[in-house]
């Protein structure tokens, strides 16, 4: 190397836009828009101007930013290919229809609430509804003209879209069986309700640096995946202080996945809302506001470490010390969900069931509401795995209910592929997507069940349309992530990159990328079938797919994951 000093420059250290350090000038367009007008105030304009006046009356900043604070995104214009996702102008990519996200904190709904969602879907949303893996329901094809009527009906039942999207405290995850299951440390429902009532839709937390995801649960199988939330309260039994919560912060996936870390602090149930407010305030004041891709709480937590986060939380925001507390016991399940029949404390049962990769019809939801009333007390819950549960069913009527659900193609005794499959929205409606997901996941479910009828293990297959990981490809047994691949004739084709062996709980690890593997989307069933056959022929006693994969070294993983000659992706 020649010595030519000063050719290499290190960029000047840049502030991260933290309010607490005096950076109040917006450093990016999203921050500027939030500063110019309170995002929550767009609600008034939606009802007074946009709905009566139509799509063209919506200002661009409201359309592309503030309307998210009320759960509204424009959906992707039909037939804009994945290769245009980055380069297309907003006008080319956005349709005049909206996705509407309805938040269901804790996942719990009454039959009346479920009917309101079904009504909106059937009447205004082309009979589509997606159960998301954050216990929301997403409607599509919503016209701005119809938004006020939908708001009115939803809100009359106690549902809301408030802060369902945007830089806000999003829907609070909770166990769908909270308060009824025989298998929980404690019931988190009061804590979830308290936070929702005190803080959601208030200007105190309507301008966070980025989205902010909460989980509060006493579920012993950890069905809300606390490790992947910005803030999580995980049910534990304190030896002296009794049942309460272990506090975790800084989880999230996307392109820079991180598991949340424990602060080692115990939070008594009555103190959860205040501690939540403290952590959320810390994020608001110290969170990074320069780059949107480094703004989630996880980046601050990574830079500071758990000890400093706890110190600043206690001294500046809570003005009190939290007691130390124990870690939660690990989940006994790798597929942390409540599909099937499970006992309730009151002797009745709940029945969890699986649509196809979260996609359900409005009219199906309406029938589910009827079934929940005729077979139980009308209570229904969404899970964080894109499934639904009907609560309060007399054990003697469970089989009858299961039969009726089967007739709707909703399976309470699903094959492993129906049970473990998830898919994000994908290119059908999402402006970030590279490829199609919901349809492929439904196809994969059917194909794999038909080709591998003897496969009797749990297997988590998560299909994602882009690296943002809405359906968590890094923690799946088999994570598919959309890509584009050029064919020999020069045309571009949907493809998938593959991640294998993601695990949570004891020895949690993100799935490893199968290096050099990119499969054409239409070969996904061939490829996964081949992988699962290989696994079944080579696994040791007691192995699961993820323990087997994680027992392979890099070279072994490569050999395991490469498609066979003449097999998938070889043209």
């Amino acid at each position: 190397m020649t010595d030519t000093a000063a050719t290499r420059r290190t960029p000047r250290p840049r502030g991260e836009g933290q309010w607490a350090l005096g950076y109040h000038e917006p450093l990016n367009a999203a921050e500027q828009i939030k500063k110019e007008a309170e995002p929550l105030d767009v609600r008034e304009r939606i009802e007074r101007i946009f709905a009566p006046g139509g799509f063209r009356t919506i200002g661009k900043q409201d359309l592309r930013s503030r309307m998210r604070w009320w759960g509204l995104y424009t959906q992707r214009r039909q037939n804009v290919p994945g290769e245009r996702t980055g380069s297309a102008e907003s006008e080319e990519l956005e349709d005049e229809f909206f996705m509407m996200r309805i938040r269901i904190d804790g996942g719990r709904m009454s039959a009346q609430q479920l009917r309101a969602i079904a009504w909106a879907s059937e009447r205004y949303g082309r009979d589509l509804a997606d159960i998301t893996d954050r216990q929301n329901v997403q409607l599509h094809w919503i016209r701005i003209e119809d938004v006020p009527a939908i708001f009115e009906r939803l809100e009359s039942t106690g549902l809301t879209t408030t802060e369902a999207c945007g830089d806000t405290p999003r829907v609070i995850l909770g166990c769908p069986l909270a308060g009824v299951t025989t298998d929980e440390v404690l019931d988190a429902t009061p804590e979830i309700r308290a936070i929702h009532e005190r803080f959601i839709g208030t200007t105190e937390f309507s301008n966070l640096p980025r989205k902010y995801k909460t989980s509060i649960s006493g579920c012993r199988v950890h069905c809300t995946n606390h490790e992947l939330n910005d803030i999580a309260f995980v049910g534990v039994e304190h030896p002296e202080l009794g049942p309460g919560y272990d506090l975790w912060v800084g989880g999230g996936l996307s392109t820079n996945p991180m598991f949340a870390v424990r602060l080692g602090a115990f939070v008594a149930p009555g103190n959860v809302a205040d501690v939540w407010s403290g952590v959320t305030s810390l994020f608001r004041e110290y969170g990074y506001r320069r780059s949107r891709n480094r703004a989630r709480l996880k980046f601050l937590v990574k830079d500071w470490g758990a000890a400093k986060v706890r110190e600043v939380l206690e001294t500046e925001f809570l003005r009190a010390r939290l007691p130390d507390g124990p870690a939660p016991a690990p989940s006994a399940l790798s597929l942390r969900d409540h599909v099937g029949v499970h006992p309730q404390k009151d002797g009745r049962v709940c029945v969890g069931f699986a649509p196809r990769a979260g996609r359900i019809a409005g009219h199906q939801l309406r029938i589910v509401a009827d079934l929940a009333e005729s077979c139980g007390d009308g209570r229904v819950a969404a899970t964080a795995q894109q499934k639904l549960v009907i609560l309060d069913v007399d054990a003697a009527r469970a089989d009858e209910l299961i039969g009726r659900l089967e007739a709707l193609d909703l399976r309470a005794r699903p094959d492993p592929f129906r049970k473990g499959m998830m898919a994000c929205t994908g290119i059908e409606f999402c402006k970030l997507a590279i490829g199609e997901t919901k349809g492929r996941a439904a196809w994969l479910t059917e194909e794999l069940a038909a080709r591998l009828p003897d496969f009797d293990e749990e297997i988590r297959i998560h299909v994602n349309g882009c690296p943002n990981s809405c359906t968590r490809f890094q923690v799946a047994d088999i994570g598919l992530m959309s890509a584009l691949q050029v064919r020999p004739d020069g045309t571009k084709s949907d493809a998938f990159l593959v991640h294998l062996g993601g695990t949570m709980g004891d020895g949690s690890a993100f799935g490893r990328k199968a290096k050099g593997v990119k499969i054409y989307a239409e070969h996904a069933a061939d490829y996964i079938e081949e992988l699962l056959r290989r696994y079944r022929s080579r696994r040791g006693p007691g192995d699961t797919f993820s323990t087997f994969v994680n027992g392979l070294d890099a070279e072994g993983l490569s050999r395991f994951a490469l498609p066979s000659r003449g097999g998938p992706n070889r043209e």
Binding site: T4, P11, G86, S254, N293, I434, K492, K515
Partner: protein, 108 residues
Amino acid sequence: MAYVIAEPCIDVKDRACVDECPVDCIYEGPRMLYIQPDECVDCDACVPVCPVTAIFSEDDTPTEWKPFVEINAQYFAADVTGLGSPGGAAQVGASAVDHPTVAAWAAE
């Protein structure tokens, strides 16, 4: 908007980003890698894996390295490589030329 590879990549060329890119839009020159801005889908997947923090979204590129926005774009133009938008780096392979500014960059 697209992502941009800047100075830290010069003579490093780790290529971790190439494995990560879902649309194969990161092309290789003799001294650095370049992102084809029309093919980039803005997904951010390349950023966290870069060992030398060379990749930025266009609007977050540090002032000192703003010229690399143009350097990435011009690399594909007729007067540099003429690659245009081939639709994927794998079938193109490494190119024999760098952008002239990069080619003339003093070695460390």
